[in-house]
Assembly symmetry: C2
Homo-oligomer: 417 residues x 2
């Protein structure tokens, strides 16, 4: 009797890897009975439109040391995109690898049925939901509020979920629930066989900056690093995270957005207003505000704030500016076309061989081989990642005089069993 080993996938940023991530990783195996964990992880720039605090190889090492078997890079244009594109790209990679059975994600609500149900409504848009949405919009409600009302109306009509307007609004405004719904939408859209499970987030919330709470958030940990205060790091950080954070401090990290201030201003002063809108997430309105606010740089952060209006959210501004900085153009295509391997445990090579044989998606282990594995369009996407990585390494060199080898020769992190 052949017992197929099960594999669970996780989509993450690990910025940095903390106790909550470790909990999720362990629960993912426990709840699914999977023996292997594949992580699709952001590279050196993350979804809120900022650089990661520490580089992707260090974060890969943290993940592998604590139970991940394989870490694949989410290409930078998706890693820094909206929740919808981020989630769709992450699911696409897991799906196209062909050997992943489950996807596991954290959510504030912890209710996979509800997230799935909401995703179904948003993908299908049933007539009664559509009609209710139109009705609510006519009363002058904002789109998010009207959508919540319509969703609530539709859910209640189908099956009582015990949610009211306020609690459903809260649910729909929670960042991990939002991502969760997008993961479910992506699975649905791709007709993927991936089975989803969600884990209710424990401890500190996503935005919670209190470092003393149990399971302090990544935000809280980063804030400690801003203050150069390694002593205040939570004592319960996963061991390899702690080791790396101590070893690498002021050698390869911390990297902040403000380190890129002069580069951002340089790029912005070299681009014409009409060309600005060729970059992802730069609307004509944002382009116009950029040009009109472009005096001398105080800091990158201050510049972002100076652009904010009622209509332009900070997240949109952050992403738009980052895409200008990284030269990431607008693109219609959100299908992910390759899997670039950042690291693996030696016993995960079997997984890789399966994927390679089945030829599901080009697997890039050695970056130098990318050109022959990818077609022209894919390679251009890959080059975006290389450029973003070189820029990040350049910043490390500039700040700490630490040299990283060229992305074309940098091999994956390999953890021997």
């Amino acid at each position: 009797m052949v017992i197929k080993m099960k594999t669970v996938g996780i989509i993450a940023e690990y910025n940095p890897f903390h106790q909550g991530h470790l909990y999720q990783l362990e629960q993912a195996k426990l709840l699914t009975g999977a023996t292997k964990v594949v992580v699709v992880m952001s590279g050196n720039f993350v979804q809120r439109g900022i650089p990661a605090i520490i580089d992707k190889y260090a974060r890969t090492k943290m993940a592998l040391s604590h139970g991940a078997d394989l870490v694949i890079e989410l290409p930078v244009c998706y890693a820094t995109a909206s929740a919808e594109a981020f989630a769709y790209a992450g699911i696409s990679i897991l799906d196209r690898l062909g050997f992943v059975d489950y996807v596991c994600f954290g959510s504030e609500c912890g209710d996979i049925k509800l997230l799935e149900h909401l995703a179904d409504i948003l993908v299908e848009e049933p007539t009664s939901y559509q009609l209710e949405l139109k009705k609510e919009l006519k009363t002058g409600l904002s789109f998010p509020k009207a959508r919540t009302k319509a969703l609530l109306y539709y859910i209640k009509g189908k099956e009582s979920k015990g949610y009211d307007q306020t609690s459903l609004e809260l649910l729909l405004n929670s960042p991990n629930n939002i991502l969760g719904i997008e993961y479910m939408k992506a699975i649905r859209k791709r007709k993927s066989k991936l089975r989803a499970i969600t884990i209710k987030r424990q401890g500190a919330g996503y935005h919670d900056s209190d470092i003393s709470l149990p399971n302090a958030s990544a935000t809280a940990i980063r804030n400690v690093l801003v203050e150069d205060d390694l002593f205040s790091l939570p004592k319960d950080l996963p061991v390899e995270t702690m080791t790396i954070l101590k070893q690498e401090f002021q050698k390869t990290y911390p990297i902040f957005r403000n380190d890129f201030t002069s580069l951002l201003y340089y790029k912005l002063s070299m681009v014409k207003e009409k060309d600005l809108t060729s970059y992802a997430d730069v609307t004509p309105e944002l382009a116009n505000r950029i040009i009109n606010n472009l005096t001398y740089a105080k800091t990158y952060d201050d510049f972002c704030l100076s652009l904010k209006t009622k209509e332009l959210t900070l997240t949109r501004i952050n992403r738009g500016l980052l895409h200008v900085l990284l030269s990431i153009p607008k693109t219609q295509n959100i299908e992910v076309s390759y899997a670039r391997i950042l690291g693996f445990r030696t016993d995960a090579t079997k997984l890789l061989r399966t994927a390679t044989k089945e030829n599901r998606i080009p697997l890039i282990v050695k970056t130098a081989n990318a050109k022959q594995l990818l077609n022209q369009e894919e390679y251009e996407l890959f080059e975006q990642d290389v450029r973003a990585t070189h820029l990040y390494h350049q910043m490390i060199f500039q700040k700490f005089h630490t040299y990283f080898s060229d992305e074309y020769t940098h091999g994956p992190v390999i953890l021997k069993e």
Copy 2:
């Protein structure tokens, strides 16, 4: 009887304005009997492909204080071009202003007839010169050596000048003679009525870095500033130069090429090899070397040196990289299409009124008016200047936290009589 006032033009960099420049300015008036001096000056980047040590407004002030009546900016794409394009653009502006009678320049030889004669040969390429050049090239000589031989042959045939191969080679290799010949070529090509005079350079040579020599060169002065050693500045520096250099030190200057290291690396890491060659002075060979040598930045200077080969001169490399940094594309058109005024003495306004009436060339006094004065193509050229200036000001801000007002609102320097 109306006695027309004569005007003399000078093409310069004034990086910074020193005793030799003052001498030239005074001699120019003396020798021509001119009462007004118009200077066409490089902006914030200069011909050897580097930033000026101090900004263009400060250098304008130095020039006006010591006898210049009007300072016009040589657009950045010409200011950082080959001697031929630099000289042609400078002469074009003086010519098209319509009120300039003479052009005066320094040269190592001090022999205007000889420079004119050489220029004539190079523009006309008489048959016997051409034949001799071909013959010499066939013997395996390099182009410059063969050209010198052919020129010598032709001159000797016409009139004995007392030059031999060595002395003519030396003459043709001296930077100010080279420029001088180019000025004469430009006058000839434009069929300009400008009369040229040359002044034999006094004191230290162009490349001479000895600060203790009388009339120390701009190179020697800049070297003192590199060392942060204001006390070693020559005591005979023109008074306003000395005042400004003392007042502005570590406030708005010195600016070095190495200040732009991270920006250069950023730009280079963002451009594809094939797009590199779209910038002025970037040959496919240079583009290829840039890509292959692009590891982590030590300094801008070191990077330039790392690109050098027998075929690629440092000057070509410097210019190529600067044009990438400033986004200056290759262009066929070397006709200058506007005159942007950096500063004037109040009694020079008459000159400006004449030029404006005769509508010879669009005169930009207020940069904010440029858009309505210039056509699309001209305005794009003008925007190159604005971008280069903003980049330079951004660097001043970054280094010294000194704020310069926006180039669109920065008025010309006005010196009241």
